[in-house]
């Protein structure tokens, strides 16, 4: 390494202790460069102790350090066999009060654990884990709980027994923070255990935590319950976990019930068919009827997922009555969640039951006073369509759609517009012309710009669906007619629509219909219209340029117009005319 390379490194090293935090941060992020420059031996003997001494810095710097120590710095220390040295500073970082730093430190320790060379796990990692687990402050003990899972598979049976015991102690710690951390990491730890130890060690810890006084601890055990259930066979689940499941579903705290409701499908899948039939259906009904709206919302979100595990008959007799209640729930959020999921039931119930049972609910939700509910229903209609067919759907839905299309809130109108192309493919051209085309044109004259804009994009998508011939007879004449409207905003919409539609129209339509209108608007008194005309001409000529006839049209009909716009007295008009001319000229 020559002198020119060495100087920046020297500066970088000095910046590790700069007064400017951004320089320190930068230096820490390049710690592997520094280590490389020092060489493995000095990195081990000087840099690591130095870092260990530097832990009274800002959290931001500590976070960066915790991160960098886990990014393969051992390569600069001389290889894997020295990776354990990085654990020193990380151990201290795992005890600081800032959660983000601690989490990053434990994350890096987990990474280092995978590169350690055996005996080192027991030699360095396990003692460290014990120190953290018995730390004076809860911060180190919370960090410890995350470290049991990664090291467990790498140690001997005797040490394994110790570790299981150590984790158990964390689960019974005095501070709720530590018990919360234990609850959070019990799942991953359990996954590393042999089956017999799941039953003998993990389940007791789980039971202890699941009956904790603190709601915030209990609610974290729902995930553990699922993990443990996944590791056991169905008979064992019934044997070992049934009381716990019942307890969680009926927990006094709504936050715990919320967690159960939110993970219900996962839980039901883990426990097996028999328990689902005997217990889970009842539990689910209970959650759908919960006092707390948040719980009902979460439960409603699991509707199709859970019903997939059930026979149609059970859905009809047990679940549907609750669904009916939820459709008139007092909380709009519950109804919105239901609106999103209810259509998922259609494929499970089949045509007849859907028409008989679900359709009335759809209609009810479509008339809901809360727009999110209505939108959620509309957004999932294709599932229903697949089951009951378009005729029936359109008959019953059309009035609701028309109503939403005229909704007071423009965001609702906008959402409906975005679904129109989808509906159009499902409804077919005949039906669309009869019922919806007028609506689509009506939106072009909406008072809100975003709606007019969405309406134009909608027309383009419809043209892609139904073809140019259809557009020529239905939408193009109507759009062009607006070009004569006395209000400039309508004329503006026309020119915007032309710009947007141009790429999907063919030469014939452009030549015979569109250009006439555009040319007419060149003389518009409003400069905004005129420069948009220039923009439109730019797009049109781009599309025409591919054929000889098109190029002819550009030459004879477009270029003269642009020439006249180039001499406009408005600067913007001149600018866009020039731009269009340049592009058109380039294509000639």
């Amino acid at each position: 390494m020559d002198h020119d390379e060495l100087y920046p490194i020297a500066i970088l090293i000095d910046e590790l202790k700069s007064d400017d935090i951004s320089l320190r941060l930068n230096a820490i992020h390049r710690i592997s460069t520094i280590a490389l420059a020092l060489g493995p031996q000095r990195a081990r003997e000087e840099l690591i102790p130095f870092l260990q001494e530097s832990l009274d810095d800002e959290d931001e710097v500590l976070l960066a350090l915790a991160d960098e120590l886990g990014r393969g710095l051992e390569d600069q220390l001389g290889g894997k066999e020295y990776a354990y040295m990085l654990l020193g500073p990380l151990e201290n970082l795992a005890a600081v009060e800032e959660t983000l730093v601690r989490e990053k430190a434990t994350e890096s320790m987990c990474k280092i654990c995978t590169v350690l060379v055996p005996p080192q796990h027991e030699e360095y990692f396990v003692p460290l884990l014990k120190r953290l687990s018995s730390g004076e402050w809860f911060t180190s003990r919370t960090s410890a709980s995350a470290l049991y899972a990664p090291v467990y598979p790498h140690v001997s049976e005797g040490v394994k027994a110790d570790l299981r015991k150590g984790f158990q102690q964390l689960g019974a710690d005095d501070t709720p923070m530590v018990r919360r951390a234990a609850a959070k990491h019990l799942g991953p730890f359990t996954k590393t255990l042999a089956k017999e130890h799941v039953v003998s060690d993990a389940i007791p810890v789980y039971r202890r935590l699941a009956s904790d006084d603190q709601d915030s601890v209990r609610l974290l055990t729902v995930q553990d319950l699922i993990t443990i259930a996944q590791l056991l066979n169905h008979a064992e689940v019934k044997d070992q976990l049934l009381p716990s499941i019942r307890q969680s579903v009926g927990d006094k705290s709504w936050r715990v019930r919320y967690m159960v409701a939110n993970h219900f499908v996962e839980l039901a899948e883990a426990v097996g068919k028999e328990i689902v039939q005997d217990e889970m259906v009842g539990a689910y009904v209970q959650l759908l009827k919960d006092n707390e709206a948040e719980v009902r919302t979460a439960a409603a979100g699991q509707l199709p997922g859970f019903c997939k595990l059930l026979e149609p008959e059970v859905i009809l007799t047990r679940i549907l009555p609750c669904v009916r209640d939820l459709s008139t729930d007092t909380s709009q959020h519950v109804r919105a969640a239901l609106g999103k999921e209810i259509s998922g039931l259609a494929p499970l119930l089949g045509k007849e039951a859907t028409i008989e049972q679900l359709l009335p609910l759809f209609l009810l939700l479509l008339k809901d006073e809360f727009p999110d509910v209505r939108l959620n229903i509309i957004s999932k209609l294709e599932q229903v369509n697949a089951v009951i067919g378009i005729d029936l759907l359109s008959q019953s839905l059309l009035p609701a759609i028309v109503e939403l299309a005229e909704d007071k809130q423009w965001r609702v109108r906008q959402a409906i517009i975005e679904y129109i192309p989808l509906l159009a493919t499902q409804l077919g051209v005949q039906f669309f012309n009869d019922q919806l085309s007028n609506l689509c044109m009506q939106w072009l004259g909406d008072t809100v710009f975003s709606i007019r804009e969405a309406a134009i994009i909608n027309l383009k998508k419809l043209t892609e669906v139904f073809g140019v011939e259809w557009a020529k007879t239905t939408i193009v004449p109507k759009v062009l007619a607006m070009g004569n409207h006395p209000n400039y905003l309508f004329r503006m919409t026309t020119i915007f629509a032309i710009t947007t539609l141009a790429p999907v129209l063919n030469l014939e339509v452009t030549r015979d219909l569109v250009l006439t209108t555009v040319v007419q608007l060149v003389g518009d008194p409003i400069p905004n219209i005129r420069f948009n005309v220039a923009k439109a001409l730019e797009v049109i000529s781009e599309n025409l340029a591919s054929s000889a006839e098109g190029r002819d049209i550009i030459r004879t009909r477009i270029l003269p117009q642009l020439e006249s716009l180039r001499n406009d007295n408005d600067a913007d008009v001149r600018y866009f005319a020039m731009r269009a001319l340049d592009k058109a000229a380039a294509r000639q």
């Binding site: 090293i13 202790k17 402050w137 707390e292």
Partner: protein, 451 residues
């Protein structure tokens, strides 16, 4: 409160001794407004004590181990809140510290929450060692040196210890969640969440998340003209993380359970004492307004303070208080004057002793009272400048104490001469020992029982 006669040292007033006084000790009348102490709070160990003042400052005291008794010395001071102006509402926001709450310790640093009317802050107070670079690649400490030319000459910066200071840094600022004035904050037993209460709402926070809080109580009527009641204080149960209580200007205390539902607008229990219709007057509602509520350490009892009395409630009995202690019943005849000079709206705090055997609250003329909860034996002490000289009130052998709960005019206390500008609103009791900290205007007094 087990019904047994108390043997605690607090029952004997002679044991209480003035120990210390902090703040300006001169007999001056023009006290700087900013120096007035607005809250006092011991930490969980009793080794530290915090005060907040109207100037937005927080002052911390540390136990002085070199002294035989329980005495404190200055530890650090920092500016917690600054005066602000809300331009949207055209409102001045005072810097006055309304409450301070200590967090349970998690490392060698101290964490505490402080709040003014609108904004809550989480402070970290720690001993920071200041180090300076004494040697690096470009200097050997005294003069610049040429940069190294070979890599073996590269060296890591060498630091030398310069000084150690006590630093206070704001870790989190929980702003913009209260439309009205915050009157209390309380940290949950789970160590992760806390509540903050303003006149009409109670919000729930996670200590680690400053940009989000959940509204759990809202008593704001749809039409503000129908407003009849405000929230005056709120506190978490010391053991059960799901329970909290809040008191109102109508003299009620509501216990709510967060497990029931996300919005706790239905209380689990209501503690209220019907006032005697024969006693009703124009002032009834004002003086029944609860100014402070505190759970006992075990969460079994609730202590509440209204204008004239202290009440102790059993959490399991909402029929009525188990004990009512009249603090200054002699003021009942003077309510008109107290209304005129606004003193009737003074918000006296109340506090339990560490062992739960005594309760403490303040009065006028810098008097404060310590009651034995079993015998309601009353100890009256005065936190006054004169305390330096006399050390005890009563100017002699007998301090102003009396036995029994018989209310009445105290010996030597002339109501007409009472100074209503001198009042003890804030106090805190050492969690383990019989030591109390009393805020008297701009002075902090420490009283302790001789050991």
């Amino acid at each position: 409160m087990d019904g047994e006669p108390s043997t605690s040292a607090t029952s004997n007033a002679n044991n209480w001794r003035f120990a210390q006084c902090f703040g300006d000790k001169g007999e001056v009348d023009d006290i700087t407004e900013a120096d007035i102490i607005s809250t006092v709070e011991f930490d969980h160990t009793g080794d530290y004590l915090a005060t907040g003042d109207k100037g937005g400052r927080v002052v911390l005291f540390e136990r002085n181990d070199s002294k035989k008794g329980c005495e404190y010395k200055f530890y650090t001071e920092f500016q917690s809140h600054e005066p602000e102006f809300d331009y949207l509402k055209s409102l001045e926001i005072e810097e006055k510290i309304n409450r301070i709450k200590w967090c349970k310790r998690q490392n060698s640093a101290h964490f505490l929450l402080s709040t003014n009317d609108k904004t809550i802050k989480l402070w970290k107070v720690f001993e920071k060692s200041l180090k300076v670079v004494s040697e690096n690649n470009l200097t050997d400490g005294t003069r610049p040196v040429p940069p190294p030319t070979i890599s073996t000459n590269l060296r890591l910066p060498r630091m030398t210890q310069h000084d150690t200071i006590v630093a206070a840094v704001p870790r989190k600022v929980y702003a913009n969640a209260h439309a009205y004035h915050i009157n209390s904050i309380s940290i949950n037993s789970d160590g992760e969440t806390y509540i903050s209460a303003d006149d009409l709402r109670v919000n729930l926070w996670n200590l680690n998340i400053s940009d989000q809080s959940f509204n759990i109580v809202d008593i704001k009527p749809a039409n503000m003209e129908e407003l009849t009641e405000v929230i005056t204080a709120a506190e978490f149960h010391p053991i059960h993380c799901n329970l909290f209580m809040y008191s109102s200007s109508k003299g009620t205390i509501k216990l709510a359970d967060m497990r029931e539902s996300a919005l706790c607008d239905r209380h689990a229990k209501l503690f209220e004492e019907e006032d005697d219709p024969s006693n009703r007057s124009f002032f009834s509602e004002i003086i029944s307004s609860i100014s402070d509520v505190k759970f006992s350490k075990d969460g079994r009892y609730i202590l509440s303070r209204d204008y004239l009395s202290l009440k102790i409630w059993d959490v399991n009995m909402d029929r009525g208080p188990v004990k009512t202690i009249q603090i200054h019943d002699h003021l009942r005849g003077k309510l008109c004057d107290l209304y005129e000079n606004d003193c009737i709206f003074d918000k006296f705090e109340c506090t339990w002793s560490g062992d739960g055997q005594s309760v403490l609250t303040g009065s006028y003329q810098n008097y404060f009272h310590i009651y034995d909860v079993n015998t309601t034996n009353d100890i009256v002490l005065q936190a006054d400048k004169s305390a330096f000289k006399a050390k005890k009130i009563g100017a002699g052998a007998k301090p102003g104490m009396k036995n029994g709960a018989k209310p009445g005019v105290k010996d030597g206390v002339n109501i007409d001469a009472m100074d209503f500008n001198k009042k003890i609103l804030h106090g805190s009791w050492h969690p383990r020992e019989n030591t109390i900290a009393i805020a008297a205007t701009n002075n902090l007094f420490i009283f302790a029982v001789d050991r």
